[in-house]
């Protein structure tokens, strides 16, 4: 079975631009979460979606938004990019998102560089 997939692998943008990152969860998983990993730090939670509804949001500005589609894939959008948005963006999926014993499975990430 395919794992979590993300696209694109790498992306270079300039300050002020907009970016859209995409994620496809493991087949059968209904919940998707997004994390930002800055170099030298652990991943930080941005959003969680379950059944197309936002279930959790981390401490990120409104420039960050996301959505989940009927096929459970997800997009992360970042507007008005800043240099500090340069990071590895990780997507994780888990089967339900409604039970505490769910385990999250991570994708390979999208490396975003903002110049």
């Amino acid at each position: 079975d395919a794992g979590v997939t993300q696209s694109p692998t790498h992306l270079i943008k300039t300050r002020g631009q907009h970016v859209t990152l995409r994620c496809s969860p493991i087949s059968g998983h209904k919940s998707v979460s997004w994390y930002q990993q800055v170099l030298g730090q652990g991943p930080q939670f941005i959003f969680q979606y379950y059944e197309k509804e936002e279930r959790g949001r981390g401490n990120f500005p409104d420039r960050f938004s996301a959505r989940q589609f009927p096929n459970y894939s997800s997009e992360l959008n970042v507007n008005a990019l800043l240099l500090g948005d340069s990071a590895l963006y990780l997507c994780a999926s888990n089967p339900q998102g409604t039970t505490s014993t769910d385990t999250q499975y991570f994708g390979p990430g999208t490396r975003l560089t903002v110049l």
């Binding site: 794992g3 979590v4 979460s33 994390y35 030298g40 730090q41 652990g42 991943p43 930080q44 939670f45 969680q48 379950y50 279930r55 959790g56 981390g58 990780l90 994780a92 998102g97 409604t98 039970t99 505490s100 014993t101 769910d102 385990t103 999250q104 499975y105 991570f106 994708g107 390979p108 990430g109």
Partner: protein, 114 residues
Amino acid sequence: AQSVSQHNHHVILSEAASLELGCNYSYGGTVNLFWYVQYPGQHLQLLLKYFSGDPLVKGIKGFEAEFIKSKFSFNLRKPSVQWSDTAEYFCVARGNQAGTALIFGKGTTLSVSS
């Protein structure tokens, strides 16, 4: 505030040495704990997890971790490391309510020399 603290930023060991990576967490309420590993060029993978029950949990590749509630700790151990264990290790906490986010430590880079 909820947080996870990993004691070591970079650990260097020779093959066959024993490993212990320290992790302490600060979390109100019942907590679930994980160790994730990221091998060079690969994505994050789950090593082991603790939800409840036996505080000594065993994971893949010979790793184990012990949950000590009184010390708010969840240290990772392996009796004898191999060169292939070279990776970055993350201690992770999560509340036991559905939908709560994973909180990562900053990670420990383990370098094993052959």
